[in-house]
């Protein structure tokens, strides 16, 4: 399963931030790291475990579309346990 490393930038709204963090925390595929303030925004490291790279892309795009998310940056995707056809090797 591919493991994606993301940085999610949250806009300065406490209400929206809570909703986003609660929503992401409820998703078993998501692990949240320690958020850090950056200017008025907040940056959250996120690890995403998905079945396929396509699912990772769709999920990252869904996060980016959430109200209160300024942007999602993809730091990397480790899919070293997938073979050339995209199927898991272990």
């Amino acid at each position: 399963m591919p493991v994606s490393s993301l940085v999610v930038t949250l806009l300065p709204s406490e209400l929206l931030r809570k909703q986003i963090v609660d929503g992401l925390s409820a998703d078993a595929r998501v692990t949240l790291g320690l958020a850090q303030d950056f200017a008025a925004n907040q940056l959250v490291p996120v690890v995403l475990e998905t079945e396929t790279i396509g699912e990772a892309r769709d999920t990252a795009e869904a996060i980016a579309a959430m109200d209160g998310v300024a942007q999602v940056e993809l730091v990397g995707v480790d899919f070293s346990d997938l073979d050339d056809c995209g199927t898991q090797t272990e």
Partner: protein
């Protein structure tokens, strides 16, 4: 061992560390990652991979770029890319090394007391702003088909929308301007109807003065590899010297320089005389055109009977006399074109475009395809190739030519100017109606003393090397360097012949050191993200333009304000303007995305629709027009003007040339007679000189000569000649020869029996070598419509210099 983390847990930990590290670096002032989500980005064994188009030619191959510790460490062909399907040429495989030459320019340099000395960016921007304010009308920009689309768009807006000055022209004027005028005069709109898919479907491919085995090797492989799969592809090579491409050809038509005009006319004549032209296609979809007096790009309408009468002169015997190609071979090629069961694709590039009759030659090739009906279905296409990665995307589509505006608009048309002013939100009247100087005129003017009418006082050059690539540099380039009031600004990544003579040198970021978008030869728009930091104080060309614009804005220069008084390049996020003119904040937002979305409405004005930026992030390029479908997806177009694929063809029509210059949906078949070249060998200068490129080096070699593998493979320029001529002159391989024209001279080693084989009376010299500048010798005569010079034929004298041996 108990409690040992599983591999999966380690992967997750590494992913969390990576994300946290990025955030920590950001908090500590490190530059932000480009604002992006790249679905192509992945990490394998610590190397981060992402997609990018190759930096070099107009083919538009995609590479996978591997980055580790902030450096490009690996390159691979991208198997998902339709253009190259994982294959690269020798330049493409080494493209990453182009970033790491030892002499990268890393700080701004200003000439003081004859020497280039380091200065700050602040000072550099002030110097440029001063030069603009000295006299905005005398400030010029000389750009490139290597500008990214956002860079070219910013430069165009800076000049035409900001300075009310159309003196902006690109080096692409020297390589594909005749293709543009050929398309415009034939179809009323620029760029090929077909695409590379034609190469997979054709039965015959005709190279018109083209050597794709060296210049577009991946496309050439795409053709010849079909033979290894048992398919038959007949190659016809029309050329003035046999090349590596000729070695794969079934038929080689070795012609005299300028003989292509006769050959094309000979084919048109035979198609009509034999009755093998496509009568139905011609009657329904074509009109005929002849040259007008005075000459004009659209000429005059003529009848089929007029055309038949004019072309009748070009019998095989007469064509043989003009071109040197045996009549039998002309007849054989006409037989191929007369067979509509065959699918025929023509390819051409500089041989046809760098021609004083370049517009005519382009139109004639289109005419051969239209008259024979070899048009508009997969495998049947006249397709011109480009030499630079964004000659199409940035020059032809963004309109960075001195007469043009983005989206196929022109400055001379009042309606187009109003559209442009509205799109740029500048006051009506801001865009100047008078076309600026084209390349040859611009540089000639810059080299003319002010008191003698040379009204260009400053040229800012980006992403090109005119000191090496202009024709007849002794007249067009060097004289300006002795004129005290002429100021040359050059943005580049390495020292070149141009920076050597510049007054101000700006260090630029290149390729994956910045975000970018380009457009290749088949109308495919491509995108990539910044992956590594540029060295030292090198910065994006686009930022340089915006930063100068902001300097002028801060000084109150009215042209850098829109009609509401806002900065011309303002980018807002969350309702606040982002200070992108401050390089520390340039990547706080995606400036490319912002400029591209601003540019997109222009593209719909002439049916060259581009999709939103994010669609290009996902794709390996899309071919325009890209049109949104009812399900919201975006669909590209492979075959323009063909009802089965082009969304702009009227419903129910098989073909529709919807920008027809005759305004009746028809394409134009031209009669352009043969005309002698502007200079031909004579008693004093008895040889033809042809110039061009080689496989290993790209253009002036400023990048590829810094790649050790490529430099070692082809270390210097040479004079390629026929053994008989060598014997007559008494020179052997490696011995030195002086080549002299009416304009200049150069000493070179001789190469006999090398890569190409010129016929007797011809010498070929590549132009990549900055230590052997052949453009001191070439001719600046140019096509009357495209203004593109002829680098392929001029008259020279040859003289043996010594018997010193050595291999070239």
């Amino acid at each position: 061992m108990k409690n040992q983390p599983t591999r999966r847990e380690l992967m997750k930990r590494a992913a969390m560390i990576a994300a946290t590290t990025v955030i920590s670096e950001r908090a500590n002032g490190a530059p932000a990652l480009p604002a992006r989500y790249s679905p192509h980005l992945r990490v394998v064994d610590g190397v981060q991979w992402d997609k990018a188009p190759c930096r070099f030619c107009g083919t538009g191959c995609h590479v996978q770029v591997g980055v580790k510790d902030g450096k490009v460490v690996a390159i691979a062909g991208d198997r998902q890319a339709e253009v190259n399907k994982g294959l690269l040429c020798v330049k493409g495989y080494h493209v990453g090394l182009a970033l790491y030459g030892k002499d990268r320019l890393t700080q701004p340099l200003l000439r003081q007391d004859g020497k280039l000395v380091p200065i700050s960016w602040k000072k550099a921007l002030d110097v440029i702003a001063d030069r603009v304010q000295k006299n905005p009308a005398g400030f010029a920009f000389y750009g490139s088909g290597q500008w990214t689309i956002p860079e070219g768009y910013a430069a165009n807006k800076f000049m035409k929308g900001g300075l009310s000055n159309n003196h902006i022209d690109p080096n692409a004027r020297l390589c594909m301007a005749s293709a543009v005028t050929g398309f415009l005069s034939t179809y009323g709109v620029d760029e090929p109807a077909g695409c590379y898919d034609d190469l997979d479907a054709c039965d015959v491919v005709v190279f018109w003065g083209n050597n794709p085995a060296e210049m577009h090797p991946v496309l050439f492989s795409r053709i010849v590899d079909r033979r290894s799969r048992g398919e038959t592809v007949r190659i016809v090579d029309i050329t003035t010297r046999t090349t590596r491409s000729s070695g794969f050809a079934d038929d080689v038509l070795l012609m005299k320089p300028q003989g292509d005009l006769a050959i094309a006319n000979g084919l048109l004549h035979l198609l009509i005389a034999r009755g093998t032209y496509d009568k139905e296609f011609v009657e329904k979809y074509c009109a005929f055109r002849g040259e007008s007096d005075p000459p004009s790009l659209n000429g005059k309408a003529i009848s089929f009977e007029d055309f038949k009468r004019e072309i009748a002169e070009y019998t095989p015997a007469y064509v043989e006399q003009l071109s040197g190609v045996p009549a039998r071979k002309i007849e054989e090629l006409a037989t191929l074109f007369g067979d509509r069961k065959l699918k025929i694709t023509s390819l051409w590039c500089m041989g046809v475009n760098q021609h004083t009759r370049g517009t005519a030659m382009n139109a004639l090739i289109h005419g051969v395809h239209l008259l024979s009906g070899h048009f508009g279905t997969p495998g049947n296409a006249p397709t011109s190739l480009t030499g630079q990665p964004s000659a199409c995307g940035t020059v032809r589509e963004v309109g960075t030519l001195s007469h043009a505006l983005p989206g196929g608009r022109v400055v001379a048309n009042e309606k187009h100017r109003r559209q442009g002013e509205d799109l740029w939100r500048v006051p009506h009247g801001r865009i100047n109606a008078k076309p600026g100087y084209h390349t040859v005129e611009l540089w000639r003017n810059f080299s003319t003393p002010t008191e003698k009418g040379g009204d260009i006082h400053t040229i800012w050059v980006q992403v090109t090397n005119p000191g090496q690539t202009l024709p007849n540099t002794n007249e067009l380039f060097y004289p300006s360097r002795k004129l005290k009031d002429k100021f040359l600004i050059v943005s580049d990544v390495y020292p070149t012949e141009t920076t050597l003579h510049a007054d101000l040198v700006l260090p630029s970021a290149m390729w994956v050191e910045k975000n970018g978008m380009v457009g290749n030869s088949e109308r495919r728009t491509q995108q990539w993200f910044k992956m590594v930091a540029p060295p030292g104080d090198a910065r994006d060309d686009c930022w340089q333009i915006i930063a100068v614009a902001r300097r002028l804005f801060d000084r109150g220069f009215a042209g850098m304000k829109d009609k509401d008084g806002k900065f011309l390049f303002a980018v807002e996020e969350n309702g606040k303007e982002v200070p992108i003119w401050d390089y520390r904040h340039y990547y706080d937002v995606n400036v490319d995305r912002s400029l591209f979305e601003e540019y997109r409405p222009w593209t719909r004005l002439k049916h060259k629709d581009l999709a939103p930026y994010d669609e290009y992030v996902r794709a390996h390029g899309l071919r325009w027009p890209v049109v949104q479908q009812p399900d919201s997806s975006w669909r590209e177009t492979k075959f323009r003007f063909s009802g089965f694929d082009d969304p702009y063809v009227a419903k129910g029509k098989t073909y529709d040339f919807y920008h027809s210059t005759s305004e009746d949906g028809r394409a134009q078949i031209w009669f352009h007679p043969y005309a002698a070249p502007p200079e031909a060998p004579d008693k004093d200068f008895p040889f033809w000189l042809c110039t061009g490129r080689v496989l290993e080096h790209w253009h002036s070699g400023s990048l590829t000569m810094r790649i050790p593998q490529l430099r070692r493979a082809m270390p210097q320029a040479y004079a390629e000649m026929h053994p008989m001529d060598a014997r007559t002159l008494g020179v052997g391989n490696g011995e030195r020869l002086r080549i002299r024209s009416r304009r200049g001279e150069l000493e070179l080693p001789v190469w006999i029996g090398g890569r190409g084989a010129p016929p007797p009376g011809t010498v070929f010299v590549p132009f990549f070598d900055e230590s052997l500048l052949i453009n001191r010798v070439t001719l600046d005569a140019h096509d009357p419509f495209s203004k593109q010079p002829d680098y392929k034929k001029c008259a020279v004298a040859l003289e043996r210099l010594s018997t010193e041996a050595g291999t070239p």
